[in-house]
């Protein structure tokens, strides 16, 4: 990789225009560098953001390669402006051993579209009974720092306490899928007026809030760090706000779909809107948007959850929960934070890149461009909106809830260690050759 690239005229994280020279995978110079022989990317009118980092991606490999693979999932990530994704542990086999997390990380390196940081399971087989070999995963080549039984709540208070304590060994953190399982048995959608009308068993907000409240207290008690996945209710935000005010080491993520869609979508009975935790009400959407702007919620995370057609082309209750997110997340984040004209790009960078990189302990990501740093960034066109067409997405699956919607801002280019994974809005097909 000896070539160099000159990014001309990009607005650097909304702070003003400059040229950025990329050489040998790193930022060489910012300002008005002279770069004879460099490939030139005209970034006039584009905003440069540090490459996005997703704390919550389901890549489905190993096990459900009919829904997504590390290759297709990271291509979707690159198209969404991501340079790093954290792969959730609920694969088949479960990522609960050093072997599986190393395999997932290696698949990510081989694909070359985004760095793949595996998240390890908290409990063996996500069973919620015995701790997985957390230390072995931390010591492995995959250097796992985050652990989650996502898809399942670590419901047992004692196991949760032990896990919180145990990961202090290497400054790790537990990412909790907050869902009191006894309150959500058979649940299909948000419990509220819509579920009452539709006759679908409700998933009450309190099932999330009760676990968040409990785990905040547990984390405080043992002096550990805790992260909450996909926070979806207004009361969850209040509990987290109160915990942060008290100095508890808590972080939280929100999913784009919880910033935009409500449970009213379930009226169609189209399972493309079925997700866990479920779409909530208008008040929750408003509270989550405010919390994201304010920083009570630290990061946007996609919970990108690809599903094969037969798992969505069915009755609501037979469908698997989850929706695509990687290629639409930035657009929805920008919309949720005020729209492309008035959005604070520094805030966008904070919530989609810098903070998630810190939470995931990814030192090479989430850094504003500076000479010497790895060239991991994305170029966004704030003036160009786009219409979501499921068949045009890079993901292997098509279960996007935004089909036909016009969303603001497009990703024009993404660079991972100086190499374009996306250029002119299209995936670069040369990834593997560049390893």
């Amino acid at each position: 990789m000896t070539e160099s690239t000159l990014i001309k005229g990009a607005d650097i994280v909304g702070r003003g225009r400059a040229d950025v020279l990329v050489r040998e995978g790193r930022i060489a110079e910012i300002g008005t560098p002279s770069a004879a022989g460099a490939a030139v990317v005209d970034a006039d009118g584009l905003v440069l953001l540090p490459g996005l980092v997703d704390l919550h991606t389901h890549l489905r490999e190993p096990g459900r390669e009919d829904a997504e693979t590390v290759y297709t999932g990271t291509r979707a990530a690159a198209k969404g402006g991501y340079t790093a994704v954290c792969a959730m542990a609920n694969s088949y086999p479960v990522a609960d051993t050093a072997g599986v997390v190393e395999q997932v990380a290696a698949l990510g390196r081989a694909a070359g579209y985004a760095d793949v940081q595996p998240i390890g399971a908290v409990s063996v087989g996500l069973g919620g009974e015995r701790l997985a070999e957390i230390g072995a995963m931390a010591d492995s080549a995959a250097k796992v720092r985050m652990f989650s039984d996502d898809g399942h709540c670590v419901a047992d208070a004692r196991l949760m306490r032990r896990a919180l304590e145990y990961v202090k060994t290497f400054d790790g953190r537990i990412a909790q899928h907050a869902e009191e399982p006894r309150l959500t048995e058979g649940a299909q959608m948000n419990e509220g007026a819509v579920s009452a009308e539709l006759g679908l068993p409700g998933w009450p907000a309190v099932a999330e809030e009760a676990i968040i409240a409990r785990d905040v207290l547990l984390a405080e008690h043992v002096g550990a760090r805790i992260h909450f996945c996909h926070v979806s209710t207004a009361r969850s935000v209040e509990i987290i706000r109160e915990a942060k005010d008290r100095g508890v080491a808590v972080t939280a993520e929100v999913c784009p779909h919880h910033l935009l869609l409500t449970d009213a979508r379930a009226h169609t009975y189209d399972p493309v809107y079925k997700v866990n935790p479920p779409l909530r009400g208008d008040g929750d959407v408003a509270a989550l948007r405010a919390a994201l702007a304010e920083g009570v919620v630290d990061a946007v995370a996609t919970d990108h959850a690809p599903h094969a057609p037969q798992d969505k082309d069915c009755e609501w209750s037979a469908a698997r929960p989850g929706m695509l997110g990687l290629e639409t997340a930035l657009s929805i984040t920008v919309a949720a934070l005020g729209g492309p004209e008035s959005v604070d790009w520094d805030l966008v960078a904070e919530r989609t890149s810098r903070t998630p990189a810190r939470i995931a302990a990814l030192a090479a990501h989430g850094r504003d461009p500076e000479p010497g740093l790895e060239a991991n960034f994305t170029l966004v066109d704030p003036s160009r909106s786009w219409t979501v067409v499921p068949s045009e997405l890079a993901s292997l699956s098509q279960n996007t809830p935004y089909a036909g919607m016009e969303l603001p801002v497009t990703i024009q280019a993404t660079f991972l260690r100086g190499r374009a994974t996306v250029l002119d809005g299209k995936l670069a097909e040369t990834a593997e050759e560049n390893q």
Binding site: A196, L198, G199, P204, Y269, E315, W316, S317, A318
Partner: protein, 306 residues
């Protein structure tokens, strides 16, 4: 009207039209030597039943046959559905046979609505999960018309497991649309949360709910609820929410007792109440056929021929 999925989607005019037609169907067939009308000759109606329900299936089958339609019964128990075929694949198979109407009973709420995307014919919801059972509500309204002279201005108490009842939901939308005052009665565990938006009164007290009721509709309590902490015991449920003779005595003299069946005698309804002349249970079953004839007729002919 292309499909009948829920009473919530019906306009008041449409509902009144169905009830008027129901009466005409009853009049047209009753007393005939051959109780059949030629209206749907050559049309095919598929009964697609994913739940055991002899009474609803035979009611639809009888209704279709009395209109001279060809009826195909597609039961989940005996077909490829049992081998794990998806609803969509079953729908596409049915579609290849080109039926004019599919009557579907399914344990999943919303399944009939999904089916409309995969078949061209009219879809009639014969009960989906805990969502809707529109023909049951229509036959209940028709029964009230007959026994109470109308629905408008009447007070109807619906009692029991509202949370899991598609019959209750369909009746709420239909009866209030027709101008009735609807009161839902049951323990808080069996009432949906957030029903403030529903056009109903809610009460936990059955005795107090009966004194001004023109009709009381007792819902079946499913056996499986008994082991899931919705109420302590069947006995306690019967004591608090069962309709016995004492409670029947609290109701006005003209008031009727309804039940969609099948009943748990001794649980939600005492045997003597079920068998009393105040009960409309067998009339409801009979009216079910007329209502389903009316709906099939409307959906398959758009009211064009009579």
């Amino acid at each position: 009207m292309k499909h009948l999925l829920t009473t919530k989607d019906l306009t008041r005019d449409e509902a009144e039209l169905i009830l008027d037609l129901t009466g005409q169907m009853a009049d047209a067939v009753s007393g005939r030597e051959v109780p059949k009308l030629p209206t749907l000759r050559g049309r095919t109606v598929v009964n697609l039943f994913y739940e055991d329900s002899t009474r609803t299936r035979t009611s639809f089958e009888t209704a279709a046959k009395r209109l001279s339609a060809d009826v195909v019964n597609f039961s989940a128990k005996t077909s490829s559905v049992n081998k794990g075929e998806s609803l969509k694949d079953t729908a596409l198979t049915l579609q290849a046979m080109g039926p004019e109407a599919v009557v579907i009973r399914h344990p999943a709420s919303g399944a009939p609505q999904r089916l409309t995307q995969w078949v061209d014919g009219a879809v009639l919801n014969a009960g989906d999960g805990t969502h809707a059972h529109p023909t049951q509500a229509l036959l209940d309204a028709y029964t009230m018309r007959q026994r109470l002279g109308g629905v408008e201005g009447r007070t109807v108490a619906i009692v029991g497991d509202i949370l899991h009842s598609r019959v209750a939901r369909s009746n709420v939308w239909l009866l209030t649309k027709l101008g009735a005052r609807v009161r839902l009665v049951g323990p808080p565990t069996l009432l949906p949360t957030d029903i403030d938006a529903w056009p109903v009164e809610v009460s936990y007290d059955l005795d107090a709910s009966l004194r001004d009721a023109d009709a009381v509709m007792m819902l079946r309590v499913q056996r499986e609820r008994m082991n899931d902490a919705f109420f302590p015991t069947a006995n306690e449920y019967a004591r608090l929410y069962g309709l016995d003779e004492r409670r029947l005595g609290l109701m006005p003299g003209h008031a009727v007792v309804m039940h969609p069946g099948p009943m748990n005698r001794g649980m939600e309804i005492a045997a003597r109440v079920a068998d009393s002349p105040r009960a409309t249970i067998t009339e409801q079953v009979a009216n079910g056929v007329w209502v389903r004839m009316a709906v099939l007729y409307l959906l398959l002919t758009n009211g064009a021929t009579r």
